[in-house]
Symmetry: C2
Subunit: 293 residues, 2 copies
């Protein structure tokens, strides 16, 4: 039994085919341009694949925010995105209409969390949080084996965090909230503050202290709220793996022996860790959405 | 079928009897003194009741933190409490040994959340958050109909929030974190800051603006994390019901049209609301723990 997966990102789409064991048998990347152009290439990919294999369902792991409430009139729409071409685009039904098979939608980060839970670094843990730190910051949450939805879906990137006193000159770059976590700690925030890309800051640059501090602010509050059994940090910024021990130390300081669990007190590499599926969390998550539903 | 309920609070215990419809047929209050003395009065209450009715299970809604991990060697213990008499007290097994029936434990606030979900103001909503603002601040969370646990349990009172610039003189009173939400916005924090009890501050005192701001900081982050379908605010401080519209307005400002849901944008009394079960959320929650398990 095969499933299709679409990781719909703001820069590129990754589409592919996989099975319920998480094996990905094929994948291609498509640049994100206009909805019409990008979706038509996605549709062509699956139409071509279906000549040789049967695809039962497609999972769609979308950038967001997306409307995930099946009772809503805008269910399956990308809603409030700064990518204006895509705002209020009915991505779910456009795909279903063109392909005539069921499409299961969730946020890219909920899907990535699901993939890490089923096949990656979070197996056997519940609840779990997956956070990606890159062009934006986003978070997915699995509770009782399922992605968390409610009034909407988690929007962890926009957590209100405490700004460091030494960072007083920087007002933050989030168009909605200025100095939320994304506004202070995303890749573009690093660039806006220092005038260079993160990859060009040396590991001992004070910017990384700030970065670890801001991510630790958000993560500490996630621990106090969701009490996850594991926290996965992915995305381009987290490829700077020296950030992990810095973040663990700051989280421990923040909680100050209130949550007396060795996972937090020991600061070792068991609780706040990189993705097990590397850069495939998103596509694997899309396939997991399809195979679970 | 009858169930026992124990709301174990830092000031008093409320014990009672109820059924699986949430009907409470009897209850008494017991002052919290030493563990030995308080528990022996609790035990005597249930032993006396069992002369006339059969009690199948007892739910224990405890102040905390408590160890809720059944695999842990300190499962059922009150752990890190500032009430030193009760620190590391094995409340669960002391009760089971004395009464020889199963006791189901959770935090007082998870239990209150469960009661509001089953019988109170949060019926039909999922996920939900219950926050109590009084001597301390605590929060319970229901997801997929069940109290949320993980590495530990939610400790929402200790969220790190942004302190107001006008409040710069106040360092906060939390013994672990100083200026966490509990350290800035609990009843004792109000007293420490203004030198009078909340009940003696007039409704137009600037202290209430600060109070609403701090609670809105925490609640905004809860919305961005758990995306609850409803948020219940109970506890002594929230008896000042003029706080509700102030909090709703500040939450809307914080989210700044990013979460475009009418529940948030309209600021009316459907989303951030008082408990439906009034001061019985805790005891009813204890009974719900017993009747659900």
């Amino acid at each position: 039994m095969f499933f299709g997966g679409i990781e719909a990102g703001g820069t590129k789409f990754i589409v592919g085919i996989g099975d319920s064991s998480g094996l990905i048998t094929d994948h291609v990347e498509i640049p994100t341009t206009s909805p019409g152009e990008t979706i038509s290439i996605v549709v062509d990919y699956f139409l071509a694949k279906r000549k040789s294999i049967k695809i039962d369902r497609i999972g769609l792991a979308s950038f967001g925010p997306v409307d995930l409430n099946p009772k809503s009139t805008t269910y399956g729409y990308i809603t409030n995105t700064p990518k204006l071409d895509w705002m209020n685009f009915d991505i779910l039904h456009e795909l279903e209409k063109a392909l005539l098979i069921p499409v299961v939608i969730d946020t890219d980060v909920n899907a990535a969390a699901l993939a890490e839970y089923e096949w990656g670094a979070a197996q056997g843990k519940d609840p779990i949080v997956y956070l990606t730190v890159g062009t934006g910051i986003g978070g997915g949450v699995i509770v009782n084996g399922k992605p968390l939805h409610g009034l909407s879906h988690p929007e962890i990137g926009h957590l209100r965090i405490r700004q460091s006193k030494i960072d007083y000159k920087f007002s933050g770059i989030c168009p909605f909230h200025k100095n939320c976590m994304e506004g202070l700690a995303s890749g573009p925030a690093i660039f806006a503050r220092w005038g260079v890309l993160g990859q060009d800051l040396s590991p001992d640059h004070i910017g990384w202290e700030l970065e670890a501090e801001y991510l630790a602010e958000g993560i500490s509050n996630l621990i106090l709220t969701i009490s996850p059994e594991i926290i996965i940090l992915g995305g381009g910024v987290m490829k700077n793996d020296f950030l992990f021990p810095m973040i663990r130390r700051k989280v421990k300081e923040n909680l100050n022996n209130y949550v007396t669990k060795k996972e937090i007190l020991d600061c070792n590499d068991v609780y706040i860790i990189p993705p097990g599926l590397k850069s495939f969390s998103g596509l694997a998550g899309a396939i997991a959405l399809a195979s679970d539903n």
